[in-house]
């Protein structure tokens, strides 16, 4: 019985006193994805680089309403 109480108290302590949920914040600010995709300056640089190497994706022969 004592053992169950102890486990219960430990869980309650963790929930109350440990800040944040270990599963929260996985879309971390530290990831390179996040750092780059939240920086307009970096994205402008990269999309310019891409524009130089990527061929056109839309035919110029499209005519009329789709």
């Amino acid at each position: 019985m004592k053992c169950v109480k102890l486990i219960g108290l430990t869980i309650a302590f963790c929930l109350v006193f440990i800040p944040g949920n270990p599963y929260i914040g996985k879309a971390s600010e530290d990831s390179q994805c996040f750092k780059c995709h939240t920086s307009a300056k970096k994205l402008i640089q990269i999309t310019r680089e891409i524009a130089k190497i990527r061929p056109a994706v839309k035919s110029i022969e499209i005519e009329g309403e789709g």
């Binding site: 929260i24 390179q32 996040f34 939240t38 402008i44 994706v57 035919s59 309403e65 789709g66």
Partner: protein, 374 residues
Amino acid sequence: MEPLAPHEKIFVDSDILDDENHGEIACIDCHGGNPDDPDWKTAHKGVVKDPTYPDATDACGDCHDEISENYTKSLHIGLRPFRVKIKRRANTNAAILNKLECAMNNHCYECHSSCGQCHISRPNSVEGGFLDGHLFQKRPPMREVCTACHGSRIDREYFGESEGLLPSIHKEKYMKCEKCHTGEEMHGDGKDYADRYEVENGPKCVNCHKEIYDREAKNVITHRIHKERASCHVCHAQPYNNCSACHVGKDKNGLTYYKTKASWFDFKIGLNPLRSEKRPEEFVTLRHAPVNWETFDYYVEDGLSNYNASPTWKLATPHNIRRKTPQNSTCNACHGNEFLFLLEKDIEDNEKEANKVVIVQPDLIPRKQKWQPK
């Protein structure tokens, strides 16, 4: 709609971290790639741009299980009506059918949506780009999503963007698409419908306008007389957009293209090609679909050899509803008014046979009335 600048399309708003549901999911969980690699070229190896198409189970299914279960049968994903209608007209030769299927994969089936392409970004068919910095949109914005695709017909009709025509009264009442087209309808109910007008939870005018047949209602006599005779649109729609002669192919760079002839605004009442218990009306508004005998000739000649198997003037539900329209101003604005009806002379010679079930013979045009209800 103007496309976004390239960097705007992929800019992520850092507020996404505050999204208590989706902010908990790491980029890599849905999109793959390497979040630790500072070189964008190698970091993007294996990245999935839209992890919700063609299967949304992994990306959305854990939380939105029912929606993702029905997902592939939703009209916006499965596109079964396209397939059914083209196959109905198609040549039955297996080799020709294969080439048609290839053409449809290159063109028709490219025009789909996905969870992501409604709730996160603009659809790919309109060049994509995040709606609001990858913040999840519970209700897709109508102009960036809904009418971005449904542009040449619905957008121009609903917003009244054609000379001499008014916007829909529903637009003036600030109604958004979702008011009639609910999330349940958009997400599908698990049935693989062959025609969008079969969808059971699709919009019905009487869902809101319940009282029109009540004894005390305004115009009750007119509504009761025309119930099951004419669809609501016959009296309450304005002229709407018609398309024709879509041709598809690939240019010298291998890029797909379509070419359509000029569209035109018109208003034509015809016989209901989908008459059923659900749609019992004899007369409905009809719209010419963007198809013709040579649509797929780039891929295969005579692909649509059964062209006459399906009308090219199709049941239409124009999105420019008004309470008062020229045709409902008096009884005889419509009754006896040949100009409003789809007659044989309105149809091109090579489409007369296909449309015989919708053409109104002169003796079916309602006769002029001497009496007018008040």
